[in-house]
Symmetry: C2
Subunit: 273 residues, 2 copies
């Protein structure tokens, strides 16, 4: 067990822990860190892009639970060397994401630090939460979009090569509208932050089922992290309805497996930077 999992295990008697967000009544709460040299290197992205992505990865958690982000709290630890223009750029990134998803930034904490470390809490309205433990036997298993480019772009960045500013690694694209509309047909879901194989293991653990793949999925696809595509399951009878909604929103669906008795475990290591 790695250190992070060991630490989280100390709180495992909480019924709230284990999903993308904690649901309390009509609200859901998600919190994610976005730290320099842990989640990004400053050479890779502009400050505006960093702030924007830090918001999006948090909003992604909220959406994957079928909740509607409303408010955000930001902890922003900022190097003393930053100029006022740099602070403005950083703020612009937060505000851009907030505006796009109609979120109000209501508070937080700002401190001087050695490096740029961000932690965000997203407060969302939730009516019909979708959990990781909702997979039913015989469900079809599906992910949105294309996987693999984030891993490739991350490898490029590590080699000091440039990536497009439209790279999903720099600017994740969330399929929010599709997901909300399809949500009533969806049994279980989570976002793909640590790679498909890892997320499937999480689904399997929470739902106590395994998966039968329709065809082999390569490591390039299965271990690409920070994709922020949505992994979800649904009953065969709802397939046509979901496909229609996906088409309407221009979202590509990849139905790649079926839920079966048993368990799914991956051997590959976590490729999340």
């Amino acid at each position: 067990m790695n250190k992070e999992d060991y630490f989280i295990k100390q709180f495992s008697n909480s019924k709230f822990i284990g999903d993308d967000a904690a649901v309390v009544g009509k609200w859901s709460y998600s919190m994610d860190a976005f730290f320099e040299n842990v989640h990004f290197k400053k050479e890779w992205m502009s400050l505006r892009q960093i702030a924007y992505k830090s918001m999006i990865v948090n909003i992604s958690d909220a959406i994957a639970m079928n909740s509607y982000p409303k408010y955000a709290l930001l902890t922003v630890a900022i190097p003393k060397s930053y100029s006022n223009d740099e602070l403005k750029d950083l703020a612009k990134g937060f505000k851009k994401a907030a505006k796009e998803f109609d979120i109000e930034i209501i508070g937080g904490d700002t401190i001087a630090n050695e490096k740029l470390d961000i932690s965000i809490t997203i407060i969302s309205k939730i009516k019909n939460p979708i959990y990781r433990n909702g997979v039913k036997k015989d469900d079809l298993v599906c992910f949105t979009g294309d996987l693999g480019s984030c891993k490739k772009d991350l490898e490029k960045l590590f080699k000091n090569k440039k990536v497009s500013k439209n790279s999903k690694f720099i600017k994740p694209k969330l399929s929010a509208d599709f997901f909300y509309e399809a949500s009533k047909y969806i049994n279980a879901s989570l976002d793909i932050s640590d790679g498909l194989f890892f997320e499937l293991e999480r689904l399997s653990k929470q739902s106590k089922l395994g998966f039968e793949f329709f065809e082999k999925i390569s490591d390039e696809i299965g271990t690409s992290g920070e994709e922020y595509e949505i992994l979800f399951t649904f009953e065969e009878k709802n397939r046509k309805k979901i496909e229609k909604i996906a088409k309407k929103h221009g979202v590509k669906l990849n139905i790649f497996a079926k839920a079966i008795k048993g368990k799914y475990r991956t051997k590959v290591k976590n490729h999340h930077f």
Copy 2:
């Protein structure tokens, strides 16, 4: 204007920002960072003490708004070198504070980092919020407990001297029960994290009033940060009732000033570590 204030100013069109917590309907949200080498040095305290204090300083914000902490989300960035026993100690500190104030830890994020950096969001029930802008002219101005020891202990720690494990700098004491009971007589309040003079300036700015001191307050008292005593104001007619409640809870009151027309500004620098 310092960098943190400049950054926060970028979000100043939000009506929520400017108090210890943001109030949204029946809930209040506060978020505070507690970072290694910014808020503490690891030589100063045990991991359990660090985790405990990180919770308490957040809970303090909630109490100073007259809200009741219910849930917490934790971002904990942990050095890779920590042993499982150290992780357990850290978890114990969070859980101790949570138990003391009947808070449930419902989620968060754990990552590997160079140093121990904590950010906490406290979600609290609130019925009758007390804001910083509630001071009325002629209000009496008061703080709980004794101020000054935290500054002295911090100076000792910087000189590599030991301080008592009961030092308020290590283990802040919150006057929650007193404050909740007295709250109906209180017009404005905030906790003393950056020193009395600084907090008075905040009160003055928000309430657009000044203060007439009954006697001079020394810098030793006025600039001692991280005290987590409560600074509050009330009408003269409620003085006896408040004093009675303070006596019942064994809380010392220091009524030291009166709210007057004008503004209060401090020249001393922020002594918050």
